[in-house]
Structures are given as structure tokens and as C-alpha cells.
């Protein structure tokens, strides 16, 4: 990741629901520092909330000492965010669609993330944890991204 503005911002925190809001706060601050639109900042808050929530709730074994990392890599007009956990990992091909989510009443997380970012990468290894990396480009409000 080639970051400008002097490099990455890394938040390393306990894998606990109480800290998801902190991750949202950090990503908002970094995006605001890049002069992202309020709409793009909102998108990033949801994205980070979804990815961190997954990292926390699907993290087995759920021990106190499990941690998650949020890595923000700002460039002019673009923000790449990576979330890493050391949980049990999963098979990304199991991720569903909005339609399946509607039927099941859950599973909206990753489809929502995908629809709000411009680039999405997921690496997950059984037993080794998961890395989700997304990139969002800021856009003028006139040209809203994605489906809405």
C-alpha cells in the first residue's frame, strides 16, 4: 500500500463489540482529513462497522486476548482500509447475496460492504484468521456510487 500523508494509521484493539464504534471514529477522522464528502464518510463508517463486527462475532475461539487491527491507508481522494483478525477464518465462497440475506434475515454484512466500496478483497485461512481490504474513492455528491 503506497500511502501518502506520511503513512498508515493503525488501530490495534481488543476483539470486543464495545470498540467497533472506536474503529468507526478512526476511519471517519482519517476520511475527514482527506476531505471526503459526508456521504463517503457515512459509507466508510458502515463498511468498517460491518467488517469489524464480523471479525469480532465470528472470531472463534472467542478469548479476551483476541485482537483486531484496523489499518487506514490514506491517499489523496482514496482511502484503503484493512481489517485483520486472528479468528478461525472461513470459506469466502459461503458469503451470500442480498436475496439470500432477505430470506435468512441475516448475511447482509459482506454484500453491503461490497456495494459501498470500490475495491474489495478478502483473504481468509482456516485457523489463521481473516483480512478484509477495501478501497473507497471519494466522489462528488453529483455522481453517487453503487446501487441506491
Amino acid at each position: 500500500m503506497a500511502c501518502s500523508a506520511g503513512g498508515v494509521i493503525r488501530l490495534d484493539m481488543p476483539s470486543s463489540p464495545r470498540y467497533v464504534s472506536l474503529a468507526r471514529l478512526v476511519v471517519s477522522a482519517v476520511a475527514r482529513g482527506l476531505d471526503f464528502s459526508e456521504e463517503s464518510i457515512d459509507d466508510l463508517k458502515i463498511v468498517v462497522s460491518e467488517i469489524c463486527t464480523n471479525a469480532i462475532i465470528h472470531c472463534e475461539p472467542r478469548r479476551e486476548e483476541q485482537r483486531i487491527q484496523l489499518i487506514c491507508c490514506p491517499r489523496p481522494g482514496a482511502l484503503t482500509v484493512e481489517v485483520r483478525d486472528s479468528g478461525q477464518g472461513f470459506d469466502p465462497s459461503c458469503v451470500g447475496t442480498f436475496e439470500e440475506g432477505l430470506a435468512a434475515g441475516k448475511g447482509f454484512g459482506i454484500p453491503l460492504v461490497r456495494s459501498l466500496v470500490d475495491e474489495f478483497e478478502l483473504e481468509s485461512d482456516h485457523g489463521k484468521g481473516t483480512v478484509v481490504r477495501v478501497t473507497k474513492y471519494d466522489r462528488l455528491p453529483e455522481s453517487p456510487p453503487g446501487p441506491r
Binding site: 463489540p17 464504534s21 468507526r24 471514529l25 460491518e50 463486527t53 440475506g101 432477505l102 441475516k106 454484512g109
Partner: protein, 123 residues
């Protein structure tokens, strides 16, 4: 009350009655940390025999898929009672999450509590 400068997830829940509906008024953020509180609120009302619920999201600053999941769960809980779970919300930032996920088709969404009473007869 939600302090606009608050940097912690807080969810305040209040109740009111509007016609046949019990309105569950939320203020704050609904995420994995606070969603349990909403889940409990809905469960409690259903257990009290209230089958017409309206969740008022007008003062919700943030809602993600964990919150959506709780609302869908509420709907399922009301199904056997032939109940209703309406959403009150006119906040575009929140509404678009319902739109993107397709949940706008599943919930009846009112722009305000006023609208809920007005359309009650015809629902």
C-alpha cells in the same frame, strides 16, 4: 440523551403509544454493542402481548446490518401473532441502508409518527 460529541456507542430507548401501536423510540447508534438492547425491548413488548410495534429511527445516527438483523428478528417474532413491525424514519442516511439491502420491501416505512396514525386505518 445522545451528546453530539459523544464518542461512545450509546443507545437510549423510550416508549410511547400511538393508536394501536407501541412506538419504540431509539436515540443513538445501533451496532453490535447496542443491538441487544433493541432486541430485548422488542422481545419484552411482544411478551407483554403488544403485537403492533413501530420502531422510530428518527433520532438514530448510525445503523448497520446488526441493527437490521434485529429488526428482521422482530418481524419474525411477530409473525405467529399476525403482528406488525413498522419503521418510522425520514433520515436519508438510514433509509438508504434499507434500500440497498432490499429491506424496504419487507418493512412498512413511515416518514414520521404522524404518518403512522394517518395510514393506520388503511393498512
Amino acid at each position: 440523551m445522545t451528546d453530539p460529541n459523544s464518542q461512545q456507542t450509546v443507545l437510549e430507548i423510550g416508549y410511547s403509544r400511538l393508536g394501536d401501536y407501541v412506538v419504540i423510540e431509539l436515540e443513538g447508534e445501533v451496532d453490535v454493542y447496542t443491538a441487544g438492547k433493541l432486541r430485548d425491548a422488542i422481545r419484552e413488548k411482544v411478551e407483554e402481548g403488544e403485537y403492533r410495534l413501530a420502531v422510530d429511527l428518527s433520532k438514530v445516527a448510525f445503523l448497520d446490518s446488526t441493527g437490521l438483523g434485529v429488526l428482521v428478528g422482530g418481524l419474525k417474532r411477530l409473525n405467529p401473532h399476525d403482528g406488525k413491525l413498522a419503521i418510522i424514519c425520514d433520515n436519508e442516511r438510514i433509509l438508504r441502508i434499507f434500500r440497498i439491502t432490499g429491506l424496504e420491501k419487507i418493512f412498512t416505512i413511515f416518514p414520521g409518527a404522524q404518518a403512522l396514525t394517518e395510514t393506520r386505518a388503511g393498512d
